[in-house]
Structures are given as structure tokens and as C-alpha cells.
């Protein structure tokens, strides 16, 4: 059902290695030629999935899906509507429990290492997690409170960075759809989590915003983090890995 494309774009930064059910996958990448990595050692994958399988409403979304997300990569999950992109991302984020297979964070199973994983992973879903009755500042403060409490100056700066300067104290229900998404996206500017899982991140965002987000994704990868993203927007970043779902 699902298959995985291996795409190599040379030396700029290591691509996510996507292997279809590789039997030797449990060993540290024996199939990878070191020359591809320009002499550096193969880094330990941040996130590794082996034999993921998910069924929803008696329909098999994917099966035997294996991949690893290396530090320094952007990976795009592709597929038509209903192919399970969001479900895969929710599984990776730990929001969906109805799956089989192995999922590990830095070599340890996520279920055993949940707290550490959650501290290092940021998930932004379809629903942005913004309360309509609160202002952008209050929303951002509440979203960051359990992860990395920041003073208001830093939060205001992040909001200004997403183009919301002047709207900090306006209740979110008075903002446009794009502005509401931008409140959630302000987290990209202040997040210190290495792994970002972003579902439909470009929805309702204008062209300038899209460009700014692309820069942020690449920057996170360059800093040694990793980004997993779904989008219907035409995203093609240098060195981007792909996971394709639902294709025959």
C-alpha cells in the first residue's frame, strides 16, 4: 500500500533515509555509503519508525512503513486526500494510539521515553490550539507555559516576527484565519524543540509568510533539528526527503 521513495541530493545536508521494510534496518545503516555523507559520520536518527501499520475505519492506511528522520533534514509526507498523512503525523506526535510497529526517539522506544520525547517535539495540527476569546499574547503564553516559559518581551517579539505587531491585545476571534494561524506559528520562532511535526503548516498563509516559514524549516534543519511536514502547497526545499503514502 505504502511505499517510500529514496531521494538523494548529494552533500548539502544528509537526506532522510527512507527504506522499504529493510531487514537490516535495526543495525546502524550498513547499506549507506559513507561517501554520500561527505566523510562525516552517519548521525543517529532522531526518530525511527519500523514497520508502522495503521488501519482506520476498516481501511488499511499504510503497512510496513519504515523510515528514519535524521538530524538536519526536512521530510515531506505526501499523498492524496485521505491517504493518512494527518494520521501518520498524529501517530508520530503520540496523539493516536491505534497503530502497530516500532517508533523510537534517539534509539529508545517512544512509549518508554514519552516525557523526554514530548519535551523535544513540537506538533502543530490542523486545529491551531488558539482560544478565540484570548488575545494572541495570552494564547502564546499559555501554549509556551508548559514547555518553555518566556517573558512577555520575548513573546511580543515572536508575535511581531509573524507580522502580528499591533494585534497582540486583540481577541483572536477578531483576527482573520491567516492571522490566527500566525499566532500558532509564532511558536516556530521561539521553539527550542529539535523535532517539529507540522500538519498543513501553510494553510491560510500568504506568499511572504510561506517564504518565511520555509526559511524557518531550513534553518531548523541546518541547526541540526528535523522537520516533518505535510502540505498541499508546492513545497520543494533543497535536500528534502519524501514519504509517499497511498500511491499504488
Amino acid at each position: 500500500m505504502a511505499f517510500v521513495i529514496m531521494r538523494d541530493v548529494g552533500i548539502k545536508c544528509p537526506v532522510s533515509i527512507l527504506v522499504p521494510d529493510w531487514p537490516s534496518f535495526m543495525h546502524p545503516m550498513p547499506y549507506r555509503r559513507p561517501s554520500l555523507l561527505n566523510g562525516t559520520q552517519m548521525p543517529e536518527p532522531l526518530l525511527q519508525a519500523v514497520g508502522l501499520e495503521c488501519e482506520r475505519d476498516e481501511r488499511l492506511l499504510f503497512q510496513n512503513l519504515s523510515f528514519s528522520i535524521l538530524p538536519g533534514t526536512v521530510t515531506r509526507v505526501e499523498g492524496p486526500n485521505g491517504s493518512g498523512k494527518t494520521t501518520l503525523l498524529r501517530i508520530l506526535a503520540g496523539l493516536n494510539d491505534a497503530w502497530a510497529g516500532d517508533l523510537s526517539w534517539c534509539g529508545t522506544s517512544i512509549s518508554q521515553n514519552r516525557e523526554s520525547y514530548l519535551r523535544n517535539m513540537m506538533y502543530l495540527g490542523h486545529r491551531p490550539g488558539i482560544k478565540h476569546l484570548l488575545t494572541p499574547l495570552e494564547n502564546l503564553r499559555a501554549l509556551m507555559a508548559g514547555r518553555r516559559p518566556l517573558d512577555d518581551d520575548a513573546l511580543l517579539q515572536a508575535l511581531a516576527g509573524t507580522g502580528l505587531a499591533g494585534f497582540e491585545h486583540v481577541p483572536c476571534r477578531n483576527l482573520s484565519a491567516g492571522q490566527q494561524r500566525r499566532v500558532a506559528l509564532a511558536r516556530l520562532l521561539i521553539a527550542d524543540e529539535p523535532l517539529w511535526i507540522l500538519d498543513e503548516v501553510f494553510t491560510a498563509i500568504d506568499a511572504d509568510g510561506v517564504e518565511a516559514i520555509e526559511t524557518l524549516l531550513l534553518q531548523r534543519a541546518r541547526e541540526g533539528g528535523a522537520v516533518i511536514v505535510t502540505t498541499h502547497h508546492d513545497l520543494d526545499l533543497p535536500g528534502m526527503g519524501r514519504i509517499t503514502l497511498g500511491a499504488a
Binding site: 545536508c13 506538533y123 495540527g125 488558539i130 495570552e138
Partner: protein, 241 residues
């Protein structure tokens, strides 16, 4: 040396204190509720209406009201809490804040406990504060009113805590109201029986410390176990969404 090689991004090892995170969740809920005050008034209005309708509908005689006043107030309070339960997680579920709550590194059951405590503060506590007025209206004597307030003060948090389990379980359903009531009312019955029993004992001049101790036991039991059940139910509900 490859200049393009990624520098290793430091993993996040620091963590926010659990208490700090709970306070943040609590304050956000309180703030949201105060921005939407009519939702705060709904359970109070319902409570007042039910209590005022009883003398009109059944009998305005002092003897009847003295005897059944405590029961009326308890049932009305129970139903008011039940009515407000659907809102406990629903809005957060719809706007995605619940997802983000689940992804916080702190234990989910403690964050759920913070939310439930905010729910009690915003629905249960106002009912307790309104009770003396309505109690006097139903010709309850001072001793009965005091005992009634005390039982409601212990009992309404139990109602919120047990209710949070039902609210979490029925979250994924489109019309959760009836199912929520069916799930939760059987669990409310012991609280109701002991709550009204305490007031009846007080009215007869008997010692109520035993009753109150039992109600306290209910509260401790709900406080320690309900958040775990709610957190587990939330995981199931979100997993299916």
C-alpha cells in the same frame, strides 16, 4: 571539514515544573470563562429556576419545604453541574488546545485535574455560595443551611471530578448529552444520598461528623482516581478523532 554538516541541536533537558504548568492551565480556563460570562451564569440560572419551581409546582407549605428543601437543592445542584459538563473539554477539543495539552511533557492527569478544579471553581463554588439564599427561601433553618452548604462544598468537587470522566469519554461523539447523563448519574447517586442524608441527620439533631467523613472519603477517592480515568479517556477520544 564540511561546513554544511549540521551542528547537533541540543536536546531539551530542562523541564517546567508540574505545578507551574497546572497553574497556567487553570488560569487560562478561568480567563476564558470570564470572557464569556453568560456561560458562567447558565448553571446558576438553572439552579435557581429549578429550586423556585418546586414550591410553585408541588406545595408552598412550610412543612413540605422544610422536609424536602435539602433534597431539592441537592438535586438541582447535581443537574446544574451535569449540564455544564459538556463544556469541560468540548471547546478545547474543537480548537486544538486539548491536543497541545496532551503534548505537554507534564503528566496529563495533573493537567486534567487543574482543568477540573477550574470547572469546579466556575460552576460548583457559585452554586454553594447561592445555596444559603435559596435554602432560606425554602424555610430551612440555620443549622440545616450550614450543613447543606458544607455537604455541597465537599460534594460539588466530587461531581466535577466524576463528571470529567464522562465528559472525556463522550468527547468524540456528536450528541454526547444523553450518553453523558446515562454514564454519570449512577456514579452521582451515592454522593446525592450521603449529601441529603447528612442534612436530614442534622435536622434531627444527630451527629453528622460520620456522614461528613464519608463524603470527605468520596472527595479523596475522586481526587486521586478520577484524573487518571479522565486522562486515559481523553487519550482514547483524541486517538479516534
Amino acid at each position: 571539514m564540511n561546513v554544511n554538516a549540521p551542528i547537533a541541536l541540543k536536546k531539551v533537558d530542562s523541564s517546567v515544573g508540574v505545578f507551574q504548568a497546572m497553574v497556567s492551565v487553570f488560569l487560562r480556563d478561568v480567563r476564558v470563562a470570564f470572557r464569556q460570562r453568560q456561560d458562567l451564569l447558565n448553571p446558576l440560572l438553572f439552579f435557581t429556576m429549578v429550586v423556585t419551581l418546586f414550591p410553585l409546582g408541588v406545595s408552598p407549605e412550610v412543612a413540605f419545604l422544610k422536609q424536602s428543601g435539602a433534597g431539592i437543592l441537592w438535586v438541582a445542584a447535581l443537574l446544574s453541574v451535569l449540564l455544564s459538563l459538556d463544556h469541560l473539554f468540548r471547546h478545547d477539543f474543537d480548537d486544538g488546545t486539548l491536543e497541545q495539552l496532551m503534548l505537554q511533557p507534564q503528566p496529563l492527569f495533573l493537567l486534567v485535574l487543574a482543568k477540573t478544579m477550574a470547572h469546579w471553581l466556575l460552576t460548583g463554588l457559585p452554586l454553594v455560595l447561592l445555596t444559603p439564599v435559596l435554602g432560606l427561601m425554602l424555610h430551612l433553618d440555620g443549622n440545616s443551611v450550614a450543613t447543606l452548604c458544607l455537604t455541597l462544598l465537599i460534594g460539588t468537587p466530587v461531581l466535577s471530578l466524576i463528571g470529567s470522566i464522562g465528559a472525556a469519554l463522550t468527547l468524540g461523539l456528536r450528541s454526547a448529552g444523553v450518553l453523558l447523563s446515562l454514564l454519570i448519574i449512577p456514579l452521582y447517586i451515592p454522593v446525592l444520598i450521603f449529601g441529603t442524608g447528612t442534612v436530614a441527620a442534622a435536622a434531627e439533631g444527630a451527629q453528622v461528623s460520620g456522614y461528613l467523613a464519608l463524603m470527605g472519603a468520596f472527595l479523596v477517592l475522586a481526587l486521586t482516581l478520577a484524573p487518571f480515568a479522565s486522562a486515559a479517556a481523553l487519550r482514547i477520544s483524541l486517538s479516534n478523532s
